[in-house]
Symmetry: C2
């Protein structure tokens, strides 16, 4: 149970700079969830059964099945696309991209783009260039019509919506959280500003000591129903009740520290100022205007609150619509979905000085702003990132966006970055240099 919960929490706590020791895991081919026959049979034999209750759904390699079947494990709520037309995703697929090469971070040997996909346990990847799909592949348990947990990529959806509300004057970035959420007045969030929550520079006391069953990560996980509750549980009944118990540690605004409860506060702020359920806001502001091809869904806690820090599930092509909309300055399929100024603000990032203290070795010079990771590189690239390899990567200069779902054995993206970030850059450089080459 302890190990199970640690894994689960790792998924939720998201990328940290703390190095994990890479273990020896089966490679992508030999851990293929379809080939392994998870959940096949009526009923599946016990050795092929994946369950929430016993924590098996987050063990490797079982998680390679779970990430494409999240709703079968948790209560969820629909993010409605409505009954409007699906926005087209024009295609100009090319086969030359597989052979693009790069040197992984810290390595010396060349690797091809194609090789990087299995190295990263990719479940699905889609590349758009100049608004057209140039590359799309599915592996493992994912199919084009399937959905995948986005983990912390969810945060960037919330951050984008919050930035829109800021631009509309509905959310004051300099206001203290307690102005909107008096319930948090006496918590560590009370005197933090909305901006500090958005950029994760709050100084909240939030322990991630997995060995301590009373650590905050455990308390949050139990309150949000991310893990089964022990008998006689008397802790916070919901995620929001937990947030009110979070204390302050140090000062706000001093440094970026990635702590997911900030995003739960953000989701709460969005609900409070809009007066709507979060999934309704997501539907009205993104799903419907983007012409998403399928409803998304979010996992919810026992009070019906969606897990804004990591509970969104959607089709890869719909993630591509969102991501390429950002690349196009907020415009998609002839419609301005997000104001250009909001996109520019996100792309501009925050202070790399605040960020460097967090010690992300694979992200030198980056910053975190509005729940997006900003590279400050020559291409002006920025990214939404979720544990186990979920990503939306925007490269404005290359007119390219990449979306990826994955099921890497280890949660932290520090293990994926070496074969991801330079691969994305190589693809960007290649696309800049080579004219379209139709298949």
């Amino acid at each position: 149970m302890r190990m199970t919960c640690a894994l689960l929490l790792t998924a939720w706590v998201a990328s940290s700079a703390v190095a994990q020791t890479p273990a020896s895991f089966a490679d992508a081919a030999s851990s293929d969830p379809v080939a392994m026959g998870w959940m096949v049979g009526a009923p599946p034999p016990s050795q092929r059964l994946i369950r929430f209750d016993d924590g098996s759904f987050l063990k490797f390699p079982q998680l390679r099945w779970s990430f494409s079947h999240w709703r079968e494990l948790y209560p969820t709520v629909e993010v409605a696309r409505g009954d409007g037309p699906v926005s087209p995703l024009p295609r100009s697929e090319r086969t030359d991209l597989d052979a693009v090469t790069f040197v992984p971070l810290g390595g010396t040997q060349l690797m091809t783009w194609e090789q990087s996909l299995s190295a990263n346990y990719t479940d699905g990847i889609l590349v758009m260039h100049r608004g057209r799909v140039v590359y799309e592949r599915y592996f493992g348990a994912l199919r084009p019509e399937g959905m995948h947990i986005a983990h912390s990529v969810t945060k960037s959806f919330a951050g984008t919506i919050a930035a829109m509300l800021v631009a509309e004057g509905k959310l004051d970035p300099e206001a203290p959280v307690s102005r909107y959420l008096p319930e948090l007045e006496h918590s560590g969030f009370g005197d933090a500003t909305v901006r500090q929550v958005l950029d994760m520079t709050t100084g909240i006391k939030y322990s991630e000591k997995y060995a301590d069953p009373d650590a905050d990560v455990w308390r949050f996980a139990r309150s949000a129903s991310l893990v089964p509750r022990p008998a006689g549980y008397t802790g916070p009944a919901t995620a929001y009740e937990f947030l009110a118990t979070v204390a302050k540690e140090g000062e706000h605004g001093q440094a970026f520290v990635y702590k997911s409860p900030n995003t739960e506060v953000l989701g709460w702020l969005i609900r409070r100022v809009t007066g709507q359920r979060f999934e309704q806001v997501l539907s009205d502001r993104l799903w419907r205007p983007l012409g998403m091809e399928h409803d998304g869904y979010m996992q919810v806690d026992t009070s019906g609150a969606p897990l804004v820090s990591g509970g969104l599930n959607l089709r890869l092509r719909d993630l591509a619509r969102f991501c390429d909309m950002m690349r196009q300055g907020g415009r998609f399929n002839g419609r301005q979905v997000v104001p250009a100024a909001v996109v520019a603000d996100i792309a501009g990032g925050a202070s790399p000085e605040d960020f460097v203290k967090a010690g992300y070795k694979t992200l030198p010079g980056w910053s975190y702003h509005n729940q997006w990771w900003v590279s400050h590189n020559d291409d002006g690239a920025y990214s939404a990132r979720g544990v186990y390899g979920q990503a939306c990567y925007v490269d404005p200069k290359a007119e390219m966006s990449i979306v990826r779902f994955a099921s890497f054995p280890i949660a932290t993206n520090a293990h994926l970055d070496p074969t991801s970030l330079p691969a994305y850059q190589a693809l960007a450089d290649y696309l800049k240099a080579h004219e379209h080459q139709a298949r």
Copy 2:
């Protein structure tokens, strides 16, 4: 907890002939779930919070919200419609139907059709006549784009599919269950025939003594995760494991007795002979060919097995597509979805002599066949029925089908029938007598 669970089980056990004492409940208008503000707020105030864990979701009037938000309470699996075109539902709405009158069973005062809707706590109702929508209304928490739990109407979807498999020679109705499911050989189902399971004439030992925590209904509910499990639970881990523990009582084939585990066996049989997940069969055989307008979904147990006896959720208009397809002899939108002979077999019913022993006072002369309730009346009407008022009612002679979602305070349909069945008959007679009258 006891009361909560009893209510929950009542929902699942479905209509029984045992009379309940009607209590004094708030009427439809004053229990309107939207007006009551259930789950509104960020977070909802405690007195407006509805949860699974504490059983509040199945208390009245909370259940009026829950039935339209089932996926927020349970893990679920999608029943995919695919990406094909939506089949049209031609409309010729008429306003004269509201004034149609009838005398409720056991009553003397006339009631109008319109009055019957609130008397029955209707959430949504749609009438088709000669293949066109002539009447459609939504109340409470349901909207045309929303979904509603179908409860035991689910059984008729399973029964229809099983009857198709019988017609295709893939499922032998005279074979013992154990031929397909050796796991059940030593259970009470082992020597029952597929036909007896389909028509619920098995002689299984299945206690519904709610006061006894070891009663079979409790054991099933815990095994299928319909209720929270107590600490240290060591009973059957899944619904299927429970089925293997069901004993025999008396002889099979002697009488109809409505016991939902029969339908779980049926779902298992369907999975076994098709080699597919149940929701895949439902998608391939009904959702896609019917051109459903939206994916449906089913609640699942911890092994991913859908609750075939009552876990389907769908839009009212999609239930109408299914129901009117039956009315049209298995044909819908120019396509033969279910063989005409299968529909004729279902409509023909089984033995009213076997049925009468069950003592359903509101269903004189009826029978139960292939998981459908058959009236044997002059119109040849038959119906799918789920607790709390869910229904698909087919009247072939009147060329009419009616689908209804409801959230009646009491589970058993014996309380709804008096203001439903004569209302349906009155509408059928009226439609037979009056030419189309456009609004």
